[in-house]
Symmetry: C2
Subunit: 344 residues, 2 copies
DNA sequence: TACAATAAAGATAACGTTTTCAAAAATGAA
DNA sequence: TTCATTTTTGAAAACGTTATCTTTATTGTA
């Protein structure tokens, strides 16, 4: 059915190997035959068979992308399409394909990854999340298979190339923004503590508080994965404290929207009654009400960098483990407000 | 490096072809050798090489997924991860891999698709969008390559298997909801008219209006892709009309959030001053303020059905073009309100 | 003009499967 | 037993490339 390298060879009056060399742009090939072959290829509508190529090459020119398990609504986070876009950009420009892996459970994910690498379908893998003690990471490490993490590895950090933001500094800086505005009771709402990104951002929050001599209170920290169910109660509790917070650091824009909405149910307005800062600067954070002051982590760039690192590593396995920190910027919008100091 | 079928054969004392048959669970193979071979496979950690397989088989056991061009923020729509999840679910269960294709421009997308199919990397393709006169569709059709559209084809509808909602009925029904609540001046805000989904939903809107004897006005229709820039102005105009609408049909939850926010800038509250209904029932629409009354199109199910249809088609090319309509349901939440009839 | 270099092209063996065709082994009927 | 079936296995040829050798053609130099 398809036209093969042999057909082209015959048509151009050369050997298949010559055609192959033309494809690979091999130097030792005369201009005249190169032209002749290329003409034949074009005329016959030749397209190399990737599978045959991969087989001969032992390289698939494709990179696997692993999304976290999505039993909950985490995947609806616009973060993912956005990194994907960045990755895709680079992959496309380097002629790599993208192999996607998702799953409902951690087990499914692991199986998927194993299948990918065992079957030689992919040359390297990008992990779009980082959690404590991830079996996927262990597998990849043990197998000595090229991979990069978007985020910060929970372990063996020097052996794993990863691209991340400085989330603790970002957490610190955004918290300081609240502090500068006069807030003294600042709470933290974040996702699962198994996610490295959560603990980093929280660490930054803690640092800022301590440096400013403000209290870092247990009851000011909420961790919730399912905003709708547990979240409301947690927020209720937070605001029935004797000294409820006036500032909120939330680890994710999507979550922030939920929080703002819960707050309103409690009769609290953002930013009038309570200031809120957030992370990611997803498109949403611009169009929601109020527009969120949020640290822009440059998701697209994260994706691009990850893809670049991976491809480097794939091309040269001896490439050392790298860490790329893409700088964040703070998007000041209107979810925070100078705190009016009560005048006793 | 990897252990091959030959190694296993040698270890089990059989021919490679026998091992292959064991893998394929061929009937004509004795239980004893089957066991012996399986044991050898397990012991040696054998995993079939997908590329070799694809080459011999002329089938890659993977399906390509095409996302729309993402120069704007459209891809940040949680719709995409969600369909992807549905597709992935089925693909995984049928042992198919997912090949992802995105691009900044329509041209890039087309190139990507062509590369995928020419190179034999994929057995079939799922298109996650449907727009007027799509060169990708034309290519696929001409090439007679298996594909399915999530959405409604703009053309040659009987030749293209697609899975869709009944968007005109959905549009009609949700508009009628507004009408039942006493609204008589209802406007429509949607995305690009090149998107089939937009025109369908608008058609439903129109139908409902006409059936109720309400005016279907040009100046009540807004089409905008970039909500942030053009949108605000459009909304302003809408509400500086002599008779501004009291109800709004918006084609997408994400867009709705933007609209609600713009309305507030104009001093209009949802649902107090204006009722709004929407489409998709993305997680967001539940946590935003107000929670949106929206038609739940069952995105996950769309994805699953699409994957199923495609795999059927891939396995048997003679499978006729199908249309699957996944039923929608309406999620009543609190973005609409009974209209207080002004008492003259 | 002859002889080494060097450049260009061809032959052929991988790469790891599947599959067709043929051979051997087991079974059953006569 | 023996011959015809029927199972079960093996040998070998695809599948479409790439890459390693050779071989042949083209230079340049003495």
């Amino acid at each position: 059915m398809g036209v093969t390298i042999k057909d082209v060879a015959k048509a151009a009056g050369v050997a298949p190997s010559t055609v192959s060399r033309v494809i690979a742009d091999h130097p030792r090939i005369s201009l005249s035959t190169k032209k002749r072959v290329k003409k034949a290829m074009k005329e016959m509508g030749y397209h190399p068979n990737a599978n045959a190529r991969s087989l001969a090459n032992k390289s698939s020119q494709s990179i696997g992308v692993v999304m976290p398990a999505g039993a909950d609504n985490a995947l609806q986070n616009p973060f993912f399409p956005e990194v994907l876009r960045g990755i895709s950009r680079i992959a496309h420009s380097m002629d790599y394909s993208l192999l996607l892996n998702t799953g409902e459970t951690d087990k499914e994910i692991l199986e998927g990854v194993q299948r990918m690498v065992h079957s030689n379908r992919t040359d390297g893998i990008i992990l779009l999340y980082s959690q404590l003690d991830d079996p996927v990471v262990n597998f990849l490490l043990e197998y000595d298979f090229p991979f990069v993490i978007v985020g910060k590895p929970s372990d063996r950090i020097d052996e794993i190339t990863h691209v991340d933001n400085d989330n603790v500094r970002g957490g610190k800086e955004i918290t300081e923004h609240l502090i500068k505005q006069g807030h003294e009771r600042i709470a933290f709402i974040g996702g699962s503590q198994d996610l490295v990104v959560t603990v980093d951002r929280m660490k930054g929050y803690q640092l800022a508080l301590e440096e400013a001599g403000l209290p870092y209170l247990e009851e000011y920290r909420i961790h919730t994965e399912f905003l709708e169910s547990g979240g409301q109660q947690a927020v209720n509790e937070l605001f029935s404290l004797e000294e409820p917070p006036t500032g909120l650091v939330v680890t994710d824009d999507l979550m922030s929207i939920g929080v703002v909405s819960m707050l309103e149910k409690c009769g609290k307005l953002v930013p009038e009654d309570i200031s809120l800062v957030s992370f990611n600067n997803v498109y949403l954070s611009e169009i929601t009400r109020p527009p969120l002051t949020t640290v822009d982590i440059h998701i697209y760039e994260l994706g691009q960098q990850a893809a670049k690192c991976l491809i480097e590593k794939v091309k040269d396995k001896s490439e050392p483990a790298k860490r790329v920190i893409v700088p964040y910027t703070i998007q000041h919008r209107s979810s925070t407000k100078e705190r009016e100091v009560p005048s006793y």
